[in-house]
Amino acid sequence: MTEPGPAVMWRRIGRALLARPGRGQVIAGLLCGVLAFALVAQAQTTSGSSGVTAARTQDLLTILSDLQGRADRLRGQVADLQVTQARLAGGSAGTTAALAEARRRAQTLGILTGTVAARGPGVVLTVADPRGSVRADVLLDAIEELRDAGAEALQLSGVRVVASTSLVDVPGGVKVDGQTVRPPYRLVAIGESRTLSSALGIPGGVLDTVDSQSGAHAVVTTSPSLAVTALRALTTPRYARPAPSQSP
């Protein structure tokens, strides 16, 4: 059988396009239509879905386990970060509280050691001594009396009086912590003013003692608002060190 040429083929195609369809052609055409329909349907399904719906069970299982692993990892990260956040938040709150407490203690200790100025109600003891007959021990008595009565901050003629303050007699005055002050002396004490003034005024007390000196006279004035502004340099202990507190 000889191979027919292309011209024969093309003519065959042309004839077929024009020919009246037989029963076989109808069936073949139906199948081709079904094929085209399925093709379009499948193409649309593939392009419409994100690939998950068309995937196989195995692939879906792989994807699922992948996602579960990732979710587990992310959940672990979330838990870690939450712990870190809680720790940081608690730490900052604790730090703030500790800072406030430390400031409060620093203020209290500063008033006691004379490194910060103090303000409050109290009394002023003015000792006029034109002849210089008031000695350091009289002033020390006055200071002790005020301390016993609850004075919290003391100042003698511009010098802060603290626990380690020394009073030494010098000609024409008194040396307070190495600083000479001359009469009239002005002793400012902050505390409960009525208690302080009555402590100074008891019979045979400070006022009587001062008045018994020749030419000296003492006056007490109470005031609702006094200021102790003299400051004292903080001295660091050279030998004493904080000891660990014993548990009771």
Partner: protein, 110 residues
């Protein structure tokens, strides 16, 4: 003529109806389509060679689709569905290419 009309009608209805492929058929439809394409190209080639037969075409068309689907189904049951689908697509693709080459030789002698 009627074949062309049927193809156009199929494409149009597919586009218009937007059919939702049932979930059970989804693994098989692509393979079935490829198998049907193979049968179609075989039919065109046979027709150009003058040995086209309606019955043979219909049987080969339906048979191709059924066998391809059956193989995919078996592959799914055996756990090698993906690999078998790939194999079927490769084999049918090779057949389609050889048929297309034969058609090209007949029409253009090249």
């Amino acid at each position: 003529m009627i074949v062309l009309l049927a193809v156009v009608a199929g494409v149009v209805s597919g586009l218009v109806l937007q059919p939702n492929v049932p979930l059970d058929l989804q693994p098989y439809l692509p393979i079935a389509v490829v198998a049907a394409l193979d049968a179609l190209f075989g039919g065109v080639r046979a027709w150009l060679e003058g040995i086209f037969d309606d019955k043979v075409f219909v049987v080969s068309f339906v048979g191709n689709v059924l066998v391809a689907s059956l193989i995919v189904y078996l592959g799914d049951k055996l756990g090698v569905g993906g690999e078998l689908s790939t194999g079927i697509v490769v084999v049918l693709g090779i057949r389609i290419f050889s048929n297309a080459a034969a058609i090209r030789r007949h029409l253009f002698r090249a």
